[in-house]
């Protein structure tokens, strides 16, 4: 392209986020003088609708063929401005985003001249890159109207039903022999007093009756190939037989693993120290028998509940890999258990004292009523400090909890109990083989990570793979189901359209240079490289629909045969030259 480019440069104030630290007017004014820059402007919020309209009008009016927007992180607004460019009749890949906020204003607060100088140079680099862009066309992929749901807990089953209701075919696989997950084992659940096994049975019945849903139990996902809209999933049944499924999308609802206390942690291992789940099963049994609650045949008189077991942990010698997160459901579940215990107490006529040892009672929103009810039902709440956690000891065949109730001042209490119930939290599902297949990134807490908690909360970095329920983070049942339905909506939006457009910013191989050394194949995390014959030699080929443009193949190639569209060497070099121009000449 020999003609001079006509590039528009738009610098955003970000309502002060940028303009408080970078003189955006100066950035705009400086760039206006540069070759190939046709127009520069500043906007209070470039992303606002009105600003977008102004830019669109100007792109059309001045017949711009390149667009540089210097604003926040491209993670936030790349798609916003690509869509805008498209509305303005400009190829969206001729727009270049410069991160003037995270990479400039926010890291150089207090040095406005310096930040402005840097700002000018990084925008200049963006212009240099923009000048070397050319129009690209997204890859259009036909999508398959079938979905694989991994994990047949309540969230997964509910998702399957909803997908089927939208006219999609669903395969739902469960590693265990019985579907239903944790809800099937827990009995009545707060705050709505619904019976877990009944909910599961109801959903299962609907699934069995639905011709569009196939449920596999004892089934594991062992391999996945293909790409968004068209995946091939290999399912191993009962550890032996493999089934291959062709699906357009995958929803992962693999749930959580309950925290397993360390030996001796709050008395774990002592007789009478149980988890909340175990205790609930004891209660169910007592309830079913209309009898008193007993432990080892002896009626229970005192129960101590310890909250936050395995949650909100701090790093220590005993706990080198702490779970820093709050498990969200356990305060409500434990307080609710208090009320269930009171029911048994009423029914059996036995007197049971219950002590709830908490840090903060996190019965948020309407769950507050569960806490209120528990107190009314006789639950005593004692607050402990993580610096001095409760100690569980055995005295004369009985358990004692020593705790300093922070609300009572300095005194330490010794509470004699028959049972200690540990409200164990949720931890990420332990399933390394599945993780190897799915390759979904995880967040700091070890749960699967969404792309953006508020913008794209069920989508993952793997296009076409959604996460829902507690696989993404602790949730109670209704929250899990809501998120699984949100994943259904996303998946429905993907598959009902029948096609999907993929990023054209992928690797390209110069077959004249390639000598097939297989290094690129080895480093590609997405399996996007194939060996093909090209004339008289073997070369690497990129499966464009699988390639994420991630770039590991580029530096590894000894022949320099690979470039990534949008990040070509000539572009990167031009950016370096441009950004150093002033430093070098000065």
């Amino acid at each position: 392209m020999t003609d001079k480019r006509r590039i528009g440069v738009y610098v955003c104030h970000c309502g002060g986020n940028i303009s408080d630290h970078v003189n955006v007017k100066e950035v705009a004014a400086t760039l206006l003088g540069e070759a190939e820059v046709e127009v520069t402007r500043t906007h209070l919020f470039a992303c606002s609708d009105a600003s977008q309209q102004e830019m669109i009008d100007e792109i059309k009016e001045k017949k711009l063929d390149g667009l540089v927007i210097a604003s926040c992180s491209p993670k936030l607004h790349t798609f916003t401005f690509r869509a805008m460019a498209e509305r303005a009749g400009l190829n969206p890949y001729q727009y270049v985003h410069v991160n003037l906020r995270e990479q400039c204003s926010w890291v150089h607060t207090g040095d406005k001249p310096g930040a402005t100088f840097k700002g000018i140079n990084i925008v200049r680099a963006g212009v240099a890159k923009c000048a070397l862009t050319h129009p690209l066309t997204p890859l259009r992929i036909e999508t398959q109207p079938r979905v694989l749901v991994v994990g047949a807990g309540v969230a997964g089953m509910r998702a399957a039903l909803s997908l089927a209701g939208m006219g999609l075919s669903v395969f739902i696989i469960e590693r265990e022999s019985e579907p239903g997950g944790w809800a099937a084992q827990v009995g009545r659940m707060g705050p709505d007093n619904q019976h877990g096994p009944e909910v599961v049975a109801r959903l299962l019945e609907q699934i069995r009756r639905n011709d569009n849903i196939i449920l596999y139990t004892n089934a594991e996902l062992t391999a996945k190939s293909g790409h968004i809209g068209d995946f091939n999933a290999t399912i191993r049944l009962c550890g032996q037989e493999d089934v291959s499924l062709n699906v357009g999308a995958i929803i992962v609802t693999t749930g959580f693993t309950p925290y397993e206390p360390r030996d001796g942690e709050y008395g774990w291992g002592m007789p009478g120290v149980v988890t909340l789940m175990q205790f609930r099963q004891m209660l169910e049994a007592a309830n079913a028998a209309d009898g008193p609650l007993t432990y080892n045949g002896v009626p229970v008189r005192d129960v101590g509940f310890i909250y936050c077991v395995g949650s909100r942990q701090e790093k220590s010698e005993a706990c080198p890999e702490p779970n820093a997160h709050c498990s969200r459901f356990c305060c409500m579940a434990t307080a609710f258990t208090g009320s269930l215990l009171h029911e048994v107490e009423k029914k059996s006529g036995q007197t049971i004292n219950q002590y709830h040892l908490f840090r903060d009672v996190r019965t948020y929103g309407r769950l507050e009523t569960v806490y209120t009810n528990a107190r009314a039902d006789g639950a005593l709440f004692l607050r402990w400090d993580p610096k001095e956690p409760p100690r569980v000891e055995q005295h004369d065949g009985r358990l004692a909890i020593n705790v300093k109730d922070t609300l009572l001042g300095d005194g330490e209490l010794e509470i004699g109990v028959d049972l200690v119930v540990l409200a164990t939290g949720m931890t990420p599902r332990k399933n390394d083989s599945l993780n190897d297949v799915l390759k979904i990134p995880k967040s700091k807490d070890g749960f699967y990570n969404e792309i953006h908690i508020k913008l794209r909360p069920v989508e993952t970095a793997i296009d076409g793979v959604c996460i829902a329920g507690t696989a993404q983070g602790p949730k109670n049942l209704s929250e899990s189901v809501a998120s699984s339905l949100a994943a259904v909506a996303r998946t429905g939006a993907l598959l009902k359209k029948g096609y999907v457009n993929l990023e054209p910013l992928v690797a390209k191989i110069d077959t004249t240079k390639c000598v097939w050394c297989d290094e690129c194949l080895k480093v590609c995390p997405y399996g996007a490289i194939e060996r093909v014959r090209c004339g008289d030699k073997e070369v690497a080929m990129v499966i464009e629909s699988t390639c994420k443009g991630e770039g590991a193949c580029v530096p590894i190639c000894a022949q320099d045969a690979i470039v990534i569209e949008g990040f070509r060497d000539d572009q990167i070099l031009a950016m370096i030259d441009a950004s150093l121009k002033e430093l070098v000449t000065a």
């Binding site: 949650s311 305060c331 996190r362 929103g365 949100a486």
Partner: protein, 910 residues
């Protein structure tokens, strides 16, 4: 509202009500799935409450960064139709499972298609109100764009109704408009605005009986705004600066000719508005000078004649010709002279006589005759004489007070009823008495006694009040034998005026001599002849005559242009409910009236100088500040002149719409609890006790002061307290629920405040810290590591100290223990939330079920989230209970999936 029984096609697959995060998310999701979506919001912009936030927890992304992409995606979505500034009136479920919906687009008074969002109207708007988008921390204009990132970025103008002053004014002179212009110092614009409804500004400023003032809402508080005093200032200022009008004849002159008979206020006004339309207008006046009663009847101490002259220039400058000394006796003659239409506005200056002995004596005269002589003839000699004025109306006050000024020895007003029953304005009577007029009440003349044909005394009889007459007033009955004789040199009869219609054929008149004209159009039986003013209505106020003149001109213009007269006259809104204004005014500061300065009594008694003095500029601006902007928009019309694309249209009406949709998602959100409910915490009393939402605005990139400052004095706070659970988990305000987001948004406030004010100490008073979501507990730990203090203890009471700071009384549950007091210079109340109960009133079928706390009830939150008891009607986001943005987004996704499933189920084949 009734369901549709026939199966009809859907206008939209789904209607989403409320375009906050939940509504936008649901709409975008449904649109992505290929359904046609109508997204309705009652506000001028989509974005809900989230767009007003500073940043969002726990990632500290800008709220704009989170919400604007959602706003952009729905506003540009090919499958989503936005309807902002629109309200749903009712929803019912049809037999086929679809829903019939009535809704309307509210009148924004701005043509959205033409508006460019330039904000010029906002710049010039003269009325400010508390800015709800900044949670009342600052003010905004009435013509406004909701906030900088608004979508659509269009201006709207709020009009609650017609201001009572404007509504009550017979001519609908935009009193609220010129008062707000004067308040803004735009006197010329104020004057020009007045011309739009009445051209005789100077005369009205002095002699109008100002019905606007009697209906002023401020009158219910400290006393009415002295609107006429403000007008007086504006007119005087304008006339002093502009001895001649700034305009000439209109450009587009027409060939049509109109004759106006009578140059009183009605005739002059009609001529003015006709000439503005380009018609050739001639006024015929039988007197030697134009002005009618303004000139001949109102004494100069109320209305100096140079003001009348200047007012008339407003009319004549337009090319209106006035032929004085020219009495019209034949209408056909006028038509023959080539006039295409005639307006009769001859007024009512003929007088009722008193049928008692001696009424023909020299010294007995009518009040019009007397005032005519005072004004334009030879001043009668009343020096040291006794003058008796008979009558108790306003027309009795003028001769009485004039006589005082002419040096009469004694002036008596003789009235047959009591003081209470006198029809004259109180202030006129008081002024008269102050100036020395004696009231002789419950008395009526029975005989004028003369000597040599000249009046020397009046015999009067005392009266008592008997049974009420047809007007409801008690009829005065003479007391037999109570006659007495009073020496009087001159008796002036002010006992009623008659229409001056003697020259017109009886066929045009009714039994009382009044001309018959259509009350709407003022057209008479002869379509080319119109009639208005006192000759049609009987004597009334100047402003009434002017009002009729403008009305007659409006229809005459149409008649002259051969246009239909079957159109409404003025687009006047319903009168604003004063109670609404007064309720709001609870928060207004008290503003006492600025007293109207008057001439000293001695001067008043001895000269015809204008007895009211004009207020000073300072006084008048101060008085104008007292206006309560009852109608919201004052109709000052500044925006109309400022708007380049000409998109402001005050005639806009709400646009109703009835549609059929396949399913409905309610995302009507929540309400914020008024922190003033917790009285002991001082919100509303102490300016530096702010609410959580206000703190968010203080910290936002588009924050009102562009810095974190405390509202009272603009100081940077150094020691901030944040109190959690204000009105949440609190039975005393009937809100037992946890607000669910308060802990987290307060930790966010603390972290942001720490960034903005690195030197500030920040303390959060908590019950529990509920940091339960993904990354939340980590965010809480981070706050502690940053040095933010957490105190477990509920603050019971806040009081302001002498230094302006606040003392917080609380029980320290973890530290020292016991009752503690701590001083802070800014206090943030993390308020609770309440359900928005709109959803319930919108659904007109069998009641939409609520939960125990007033939120829309999910019938099965575990397996059927978002489903309500109405099949096909779903509730998304905070409509079912307050939740944070991530939970709202997920819940809305669920609503979309549920609504889609419903559509497939009910309309799968289509």
């Amino acid at each position: 509202m009734k369901p549709n029984t026939d199966k009809r096609p859907l206008d939209y697959d789904v209607m989403v009500v409320g375009a906050g995060v939940a509504g936008m998310e649901t709409a975008a999701s449904m649109g992505d799935m290929g359904y046609r979506v109508l997204l309705v919001d009652k506000n001028a912009s989509i974005g809900g409450r989230a767009i007003l936030l500073s940043k969002v927890f726990p990632t500290l992304d800008c709220a704009s960064c989170i919400v604007t992409p959602k706003m952009a995606s729905v506003s540009h979505h090919p499958n989503v139709q936005l309807m902002t500034y629109s309200e749903v009136d009712g929803i019912v479920r049809n037999a086929d499972g679809s829903f019939a919906v009535d809704l309307h687009k509210k009148a924004s008074y701005v043509d959205f298609d033409a508006c460019t969002g330039c904000g010029k109207c906002e710049e010039v708007c003269t009325v400010t109100v508390a800015d709800e988008y900044n949670y009342d921390l600052v003010t905004r204009r009435i013509a406004h764009i909701a906030f900088p990132q608004a979508v659509p970025k269009k201006a709207v103008i709020n009009r609650r109704g017609e201001a009572p002053c404007t509504f009550t004014c017979p001519a609908n002179v935009k009193a609220s408009g010129y008062v707000s212009l004067v308040r803004a110092g735009r006197y010329k614009e104020a004057f020009n605005l007045h011309l739009e409804n009445a051209p005789l500004v100077g005369s009205l400023a002095r002699a109008c009986y100002a019905p606007c003032e009697s209906d002023c809402t401020r009158g219910e508080k400290e006393g009415t705004v002295h609107i006429r005093g403000i007008k007086r200032f504006m007119a005087d200022r304008y006339y002093a600066e502009h001895p001649e009008p700034e305009y000439g004849p209109v450009e587009n002159q027409l060939a049509t000719r109109a004759a106006v008979v009578g140059s009183g206020p009605a005739g002059l006004s009609a001529a003015f508005y006709l000439a503005r339309q380009g018609h050739q207008v001639t006024i015929f006046e039988s007197e030697q000078e134009a002005g009618g009663m303004l000139r001949t009847a109102i004494p100069p101490y109320r209305l100096p004649k140079d003001v009348v002259d200047r007012d008339i220039k407003n009319v004549t400058t337009l090319g209106v010709k006035i032929k004085t000394g020219h009495r019209i006796t034949s209408l056909p003659d006028l038509k023959q002279q080539g006039f295409n239409a005639v307006l009769i506005s001859t007024g009512a200056s003929d007088e009722n006589g008193l049928e008692v002995e001696g009424n023909d004596l020299d010294g007995v005269m009518g009040c019009m005759q007397f005032l005519h002589e005072v004004n334009v003839g030879e001043m009668p000699d009343v020096k040291n004489k006794t003058v008796m004025v008979i009558g108790g109306g306003n027309s009795a006050m003028d001769p009485a007070r004039a006589a005082i000024r002419m040096g009469a020895g004694k002036v008596i007003i003789n009235y047959r009823r009591g003081r209470k029953e006198m029809p004259a304005h109180d202030w006129e009577i008081e002024g008269a008495v102050e100036e020395g007029v004696e009231l002789m009440l419950m008395s009526a003349p029975t005989r004028f006694i003369g000597k040599d044909g000249k009046l020397v005394a009046v015999e009067c009889i005392s009266m008592e009040l008997g049974a009420p007459d047809e007007s409801g007033r008690r009829r005065p009955v003479p007391i037999k034998g109570s006659e007495k004789v009073i020496p009087v040199d001159m008796a002036i009869l002010a006992i009623g005026l008659l229409p001056s219609t003697a020259h017109f054929p009886a066929a045009m008149k009714n039994g009382k001599g009044l001309l018959s004209a259509d009350p709407q159009t003022r057209q008479t039986a002869d379509p080319d002849v119109f009639a208005c003013g006192d000759c049609v209505t009987a004597p009334t106020m100047i402003i009434n005559a002017i009002a009729q003149g403008r009305r007659a001109a409006f229809y005459m213009d149409r008649h002259l242009k051969n246009e239909s007269l079957n159109v409404p006259f003025d687009g006047v809104l319903e009168k604003t409910d004063k109670n609404v204004v007064l309720e709001e005014a609870e928060r207004f500061v008290e503003r006492q009236p600025v007293p109207q300065p008057v001439l000293p009594l001695a001067e008043r008694r001895s000269s015809f100088a204008c007895y009211e003095k004009v207020m000073t500029e300072v006084e008048v601006r101060q008085e104008a500040q007292r206006c309560m902007n009852c109608g919201e928009c004052s109709q000052c019309m500044e925006c109309v002149s400022a708007c380049a694309p000409k998109c402001i249209d005050f005639s806009q009406k709400p646009t109703p719409l009835s549609i059929n949709v396949g399913t409905v998602v309610m995302s009507t959100g929540f309400k914020i609890l008024d922190p003033a409910t917790k009285e002991l915490l001082g919100y509303g009393r102490y300016p530096d006790v702010v609410s959580g939402p206000q703190m968010d605005r203080l910290l936002a990139p588009t924050r009102p002061y562009n810095a974190v400052l405390r509202p009272s004095d603009g100081k940077e706070p150094e020691n901030i307290a944040i109190i959690l659970c204000v009105g949440s988990r609190d039975h005393t305000v009937c809100n037992p629920l946890c607000c669910r987001i308060g802990c987290m948004y307060s930790i966010k406030h603390a972290q942001l405040a720490m960034g903005a004010l690195p030197m500030a100490d920040i303390t959060i008073y908590t019950i529990d810290v509920r940091a339960f979501g993904k990354g939340y507990n980590e965010f809480y730990e981070q706050a502690k590591a940053m040095g933010i203090q957490f105190v477990k203890g509920k603050v019971a009471r806040i009081e302001q100290l002498a230094n302006g700071n606040m003392a917080l009384h609380y029980e320290d549950m973890l530290g020292e223990g016991g009752k503690q007091t701590r001083e802070h210079d800014l206090v943030v109340l993390t308020v609770g939330f309440l359900p928005n109960t709109d959803a319930f009133s919108l659904y007109k079928g069998d009641a939409l079920a609520a939960d125990d706390f007033g939120y829309v009830r999910e019938i099965d939150p575990v397996s059927e989230p978002t489903r309500t008891n109405v099949d096909g009607l779903f509730a998304a986001g905070t409509t079912i209970g307050v939740m944070d943005i991530p939970d709202t987004v997920l819940h809305s996704g669920a609503a979309a999936a549920q609504a889609a499933a419903y559509l497939e189920r009910t309309r799968g084949g289509q």
